[in-house]
Amino acid sequence: MINQRAATGSAAFHPLAGLRATAQAASLTSTSRDNEVIKIEAQGLNFFYGKSQQLRNVSLSIPQERLTAIIGPSGCGKSTLLRMFNRMYSIYPDQTATGSLILDGQNVLDPGYPLSRLRNAIGMVFQKPNPFPMSIYNNVAYALQHHERLSRQDLNDRVEEALRQAALWDEVKDKLKDSGLSLSGGQQQRLCIARAVALRPEVILFDEPTSALDPIATSKIEQLFYELKSQFTLVVVTHSMQQAARVSDYIAFMYMGELVEFGNTVQIFERPQDERTSAYITGRLG
């Protein structure tokens, strides 16, 4: 079913139209993934909640300015893996990780790698929209002001740029002083994207960013992915295979704390190498 959609999707509306483009682009590179520039190189990642190990020896390469989807059944460790990329886990004392995550030649899991720099380089958008209890403008400007010294004018420009990149500018430009909490759920999520984009990160992580949104808001965010990946490397956790098929260039399929298979989207859907992958994409697993 999905294979078919992935192969023949030709509807005019954006996500599927985009899917076809993606499928074509992806099949061009399918023979040699090495043509891609690698943004993050993960090697031998293990993760522990206290003593319980939830990731086992995960290694994968995240290609630059592509969308990599992490899929797999609930509880397989998708969020756990994603939260290693920006060391989000480190705020919880009982969570530990081993292995290496190389970003621009440096291991970001090294405790010596400054957290502030890491989180400036790698942004994150969460499952539930979580704008700060402040104005729309300040939601975007606040962290930006922390990381960069900007004149009033430059700050205004950067806020506008970020809101435009998040496809939110036209909806909020006349009410920048209103509370971020006054927006709808989908708008709030795009505000959170603007907030992350404003720092001009290299990578943006998304943890099931549309699972709390209605279909229209979801499709807006999916369209947004296309624009964002011309500038940023995107890593998106999703539990929806349809979404992965629509938006991703590469797919990492996880199962029970292990990375079962990594490949370009067309290959994963058309020629899965592992029995568990084909079981999952045909709905026989999880």
């Binding site: 957290l115 502030s116 979580n130 209890p133 402040m134 922390h146």
Partner: protein, 286 residues
């Protein structure tokens, strides 16, 4: 059959009515005394209210006079209580919520704080009496303010702790994921998210200390004359009410009623303000 179920239905209906009737009676019983107390205070107090209350000092026995020194003394000592108790309370509450949520140390502090919260205020008065009045050798406004701070403190600690714990963790993760440091997260985002509840806690604590008599009896005592120096014994409304109400003089009785009315209106005003604040906040969050 029908008759049986009919009579059962009636019996249930009757039981329901009896229970409703009894609980309504209980509520009315409580409200009756409250209304009586308020009414007596308003009737006796209103006839005692005049301009001289706010321009003249407390009189010698049997004479006419006002409450200016007592009103001023109360404001000063409640002010000292707020200035000392609020920052310490907020800092301690923040520590509990953000650094000691489930730790043994945190639980111990919460337990001790709850004891302090329910400690009879006369015990606190005696404590400050030994701590300060005995050491300095005389009653003083400072000692009164410190005693009030001890009563305000645990209320502020508890509400701060609880209100911060209500802020969803995703707010913390969102801020940290943007590379913001912990102190900015706490002061600019968490306090803002919890502000309505925290302010309400402080207001309710103020309402509580503005009527306290026992702790002031042992610390500030009273002063028939004007003083703006808290190093001296200081007049204050609760102690004036206490002494004048027990006296045999009509003029003192009416001053006691006026004082009671002033405190009641002040406390009502604060309670209503805090309610309105919470209601507005709840509304604004929707």
């Amino acid at each position: 059959m029908r008759a049986v179920s009919q009579s059962r239905f009636r019996w249930r209906h009757a039981k329901n009515r009896i229970a409703m009737g009894l609980s309504t009676l209980a509520a009315l019983f409580g409200l009756f005394w409250l209304a009586w107390i308020l009414l007596t205070t308003f009737i006796n107090g209103a006839s005692a209210i005049n301009f001289k209350l706010f321009t003249e000092m407390t009189p010698p026995p049997g004479d006419e006079g006002g409450l200016l020194n007592a009103i001023f003394g109360s404001l000063v000592m409640v002010g000292v209580g707020i200035i000392l108790g609020t920052p310490i309370g907020i800092a301690a509450g923040t520590f509990l919520a953000e650094r000691a949520r489930r730790s043994k140390l945190g639980e111990t502090i919460r337990f001790v704080n709850d004891i302090l919260l329910s400690a009879p205020s006369i015990v606190i008065g005696l404590f400050v009496y030994t701590l300060i009045v005995r050491q300095t050798g005389h009653f003083s406004g400072w000692a009164g303010g410190i005693a009030l701070a001890f009563i305000l403190l645990p209320v502020v600690v508890r509400t701060t702790d609880e209100m911060l714990q209500l802020v969803p963790n995703s707010m913390r993760e969102a801020a940290l994921a943007l590379g913001l440091p912990q102190w900015k997260l706490t002061t600019q985002i968490l306090y803002r998210a919890a502000s309505a509840g925290m302010v309400t806690g402080v207001l309710l604590a103020i309402a509580r200390i503005s009527g306290e008599t026992a702790p002031l009896l042992f610390t500030a005592l009273n002063n028939q004359f004007w003083t703006d120096n808290p190093a001296n014994p200081m007049a204050n409304i609760p102690v004036v009410i206490f002494q004048y109400a027990l006296s045999p003089y009509d003029s003192w009785h009416s001053l006691a009623w006026a004082g009671a009315l002033i405190v009641t209106i002040f406390v009502l005003f604060i309670s209503i303000t805090s309610r309105a604040l919470l209601a507005r906040r709840r509304h604004g969050n929707d």
